[in-house]
Symmetry: C2
Subunit: 650 residues, 2 copies
Amino acid sequence: MTDTATRPETPAVADPRLGEALKVALDGPYHPLRQKARDTLTAAEILRDPTLSVDEARAWTLAALQHLATKGYGNTGFALPGQAADPATVVTGFEALAHGDLSLVIKVGVQYGLWGGAIEGLGTDEQVSRWLPDILSARHLGCFAMTEMGHGSDVASIETTLTYDPETDEIVVDSPTPTATKTYIGNAAAHGTSAAVFGQLWVDGTCHGVHCVVVPFRTVVDGTGQDLPGCTSGDNGHKGGLLGIDNGTLRFDHVRVPRANLLSRYGGIGDDGSYSSPISSPGKRFFTMLGTLVRGRVCVGAGAAIAGRRALSIATRYALRRAQFPGPDGSGETLLLDYRWHQRRLLPGIAKAYAFGFANNDLIHLLARSRSEEVDDLFQRSLESRAAGLKAAQSRWANDIVQVCREACGGAGFMTENGLTLLRSDVDIFATFEGDNTVLMQLVARGLLTGYQETWTGLDRRETMTKTADLVARMVLERTAGRGTVDALVARARRVSNEASILDRGWQVLMFDERERHVLESLARRYQAAMRVEKAQRFAAVNELQDHLLTLARVHTDRLVLGSFVAGIEACEDPAAKRVLNTLCDLYVIDNLEGDRAWFIEHGFMTQARSKSLTKTLNRLCAELRPEALALVEGLGVPAEWLGSRMLED
Amino acid sequence: MTDTATRPETPAVADPRLGEALKVALDGPYHPLRQKARDTLTAAEILRDPTLSVDEARAWTLAALQHLATKGYGNTGFALPGQAADPATVVTGFEALAHGDLSLVIKVGVQYGLWGGAIEGLGTDEQVSRWLPDILSARHLGCFAMTEMGHGSDVASIETTLTYDPETDEIVVDSPTPTATKTYIGNAAAHGTSAAVFGQLWVDGTCHGVHCVVVPFRTVVDGTGQDLPGCTSGDNGHKGGLLGIDNGTLRFDHVRVPRANLLSRYGGIGDDGSYSSPISSPGKRFFTMLGTLVRGRVCVGAGAAIAGRRALSIATRYALRRAQFPGPDGSGETLLLDYRWHQRRLLPGIAKAYAFGFANNDLIHLLARSRSEEVDDLFQRSLESRAAGLKAAQSRWANDIVQVCREACGGAGFMTENGLTLLRSDVDIFATFEGDNTVLMQLVARGLLTGYQETWTGLDRRETMTKTADLVARMVLERTAGRGTVDALVARARRVSNEASILDRGWQVLMFDERERHVLESLARRYQAAMRVEKAQRFAAVNELQDHLLTLARVHTDRLVLGSFVAGIEACEDPAAKRVLNTLCDLYVIDNLEGDRAWFIEHGFMTQARSKSLTKTLNRLCAELRPEALALVEGLGVPAEWLGSRMLED
């Protein structure tokens, strides 16, 4: 076997059914839901004029939210008493709108996912019945007021106080300092009338940690409302993107609300004025409450990936019609996509878009399971970790690939009417909100370290190594689908890894597994050492590991994504689509390994020769996929009518 | 010697004079010019309200251009008959304005650099006298109309025709097809009244290639002007950034201008109606005319770098005041810049900003020499190549680092009032205009290949290797300053390279040199093979080398930049600043080598162990520079009053 094995030749004329078959495969179990959105939403409903001012954009976004509510977009799939949650509907609904204006989809996210989600996730059945129906009909617009000026990522340190006053049976909401001001809050500047306000709950002189209370703060919805007494709203004003979202600030000066407004599913105050909670550990209670944010992270990651798909659809279609420079033989001009570097810019991005698509399908599946059956702590932690890792990976990728696409369209890419620049500005903040990527990745890595330590405590070095092999096996098993296939592939690759072709899927999976295992093991050793240093030096010692933590989160997420890709291919029933998906998977893997090849050589997993062959193979795979380029972007599932790109219209 | 040698400890309390000393060193020979700008321009003159609409932004930008013209900003240093060009004044003037609004600086670039520059560079003395004074006073606003809808990077293929009519002694300017429409032309949508129009010159049935003619096309300057007969202007409308620039389209329907409007320095039509040119080869004439664009590329590269400096100044200052999360010992919150990853995000960027700064100083010096003395073809080619490479490298870097800075400021970074988002949108197009980066990098690489082939033709392999050693020596000598130092360093490193510390400057320079040499040699071999294949297959064969070409351009430019950095340190007279610059240079180099370490291992220039030590050293250098962070950004020379960042004001 050689490192650049020959593959079956691609047909000279592209198969017109290929794009459709790829789309069905990538949609996976959610094809009916996703196709329905493509068939029923129109470009006019979801795309806005990208040149609107802040005020105009806010007004359009509110109107679009309200219009879509009447059609059941964005507001279906939520749990009401007597009606089970349907997370797949929520997430695919969010995805559908993410094909259009990103302000609109974030407005949906703020109104239903965050404001509604706080009630749904943290409220009692009575509270859900009381508030959620009007929220889902977009009659009662509101805010998710967690972030404070002084405390973004560090939620546990927020300063807002929620103090129970037994005299009046009320909760007193207060912002004791300027840094306690809530900020960047969607719906706060103009449209919201109530907020789910997070703060430290004090009952009878004891602080019970972060809780959430519903606070009415403004009279009317339409942007002309007045602040209620004690409430002060502000406007964050112009932003780098998402101009349709009215982000603002909220301050509370001893504002009183009834005790019944304290969202009490995980902790509340009884008629006797005493605090009680079904979760005795304050730490566990805090993380359980934060755990209800997981659906938002799934949505934001998936939405960012859709933005990437959209940009790739525009840039690839443009590269298939735009010619530049005659060939060296003086013959007709060359299509942009026939240039090697243009292929290298766009095609690995398309492969990654597919990879993330399959990974999101699995994530939605896990999310749905967590709502429909009793799952244990390990399952929940693993779901949260996967959602955090994929949110970070996809929003990073979306930012990068949208910029690549903009540049790949040259000057035309910079003209707003061609659809890329608004996408670029709007997707930017996806790297920061719903959890800053750097912080999320550290959460992922710390979770892996914890799991590792729980398994490993008290083992000596030799036992550790045996256990590690088990762990790798378990990580493989943990995959949501395609287990048998992956296991067989890896088992075979383990026997032949030295000679295996770099296009052997088993070898590829093994490399992703081994990389994660090695990075985790070495980090765990360093972490244990860091925790043994004196307390005064410990911050410095742990801080030294931060880049290592981020690497672990990245390679862990890469491994999960590849597992989903392999499973997705396994589930594909169309032979032509399956063949192309296999090549895309190769491209995804080789691009990933090529980018990290220094690590693989440094750690003895690859020879220099094999490493060099990766670049060659990367180029060859791009050339091989070039004839299918149109079908590849059709498979990404963004309807051509939704692209809103003037340069593709003539 | 170890790979991570200990350096002198940095003082616990930062030296207040360090920032000033670094600034003086980085300004280099242009310190007086640059400091004058800092002392005389005010924030109000150069910063605009970032929330303006397209019309408001255009009006502000025009007014600011006109105001600054009266103060001599942007419009000084141009060549007039009897007045020598002063490129250093032009470039540093452009840089000064690039600290403010990027629309303003590009308006300046369009009006003086491109429109004025076309006259200055391509016109006869008489034509310069006729037009340039009113252009430099901003009374006569105009356009540089080169790019066409069908032809951006490929200037030689533009379709506009300039046909000499001997009957009337006029030039007939015509856009024969829709793709001949000029587009993305600054000043075309509203403010310009004339354009320097590029097209194919036809005289008596013979095409003499691309020439330029001055065409009046609109009545008045103020945005209410009417198109003149036969001229049709259009508006490119809203863009991803640079909203203050009125980019538009221009079409000509057999528009007649006097023969005297043909810019004739490099080719004109005599009174007898015949064409003549001081440059007989049409190819050489074309490239000589394009060569006048070099100053624009120097300006755009430098301007992009200033945008990067500005973003780094904002993000670093924010990271020195913003705390988040208590340390693991529960003590006070930690400043963002004390986190390792935050250091890794920002400090290598600062090192690169310094590296580019020194490289720009050298480039300005070369540009000034090319205008003040007779330089040969090799000098001119080397100047153009350096300008192209640095434009591509700096605009790529600026795009990346501004985004990094935005994200490093979290949600605050996304608020327009904090100064990063406008920078992000405005700097985007720097990667495309004044030569698309991908195209420019291929020019750089092709130039190197040509030079290599001129030297090498007819040599056998053994001779080639000897010659190559000479070439490397020549490349080192080619440095504009610090030759002795660099030579001595490299000579020493050659003797000890296996044992040399990675902080040994000679070893570092050697690695940059060897990388370029190796990439060039292997590309030359592949290129020769590609040129031997049959003509029908040749495009494919050359296309296969495109990624290799881009690598060559990158590593070549990296080598030039390092040479300038070394020379800049050599010239620094302040011991404290010199010490810090040395550490910054280490950080620049190690960051560069770390990013490319796979290549170095693959090609036998580094062991795995040395490669691994790069990451460790990178982290350590960041930690070492952390206490000087404020001085480092002060040294970047962006006055705090010009930052326009609300979050830094409290």
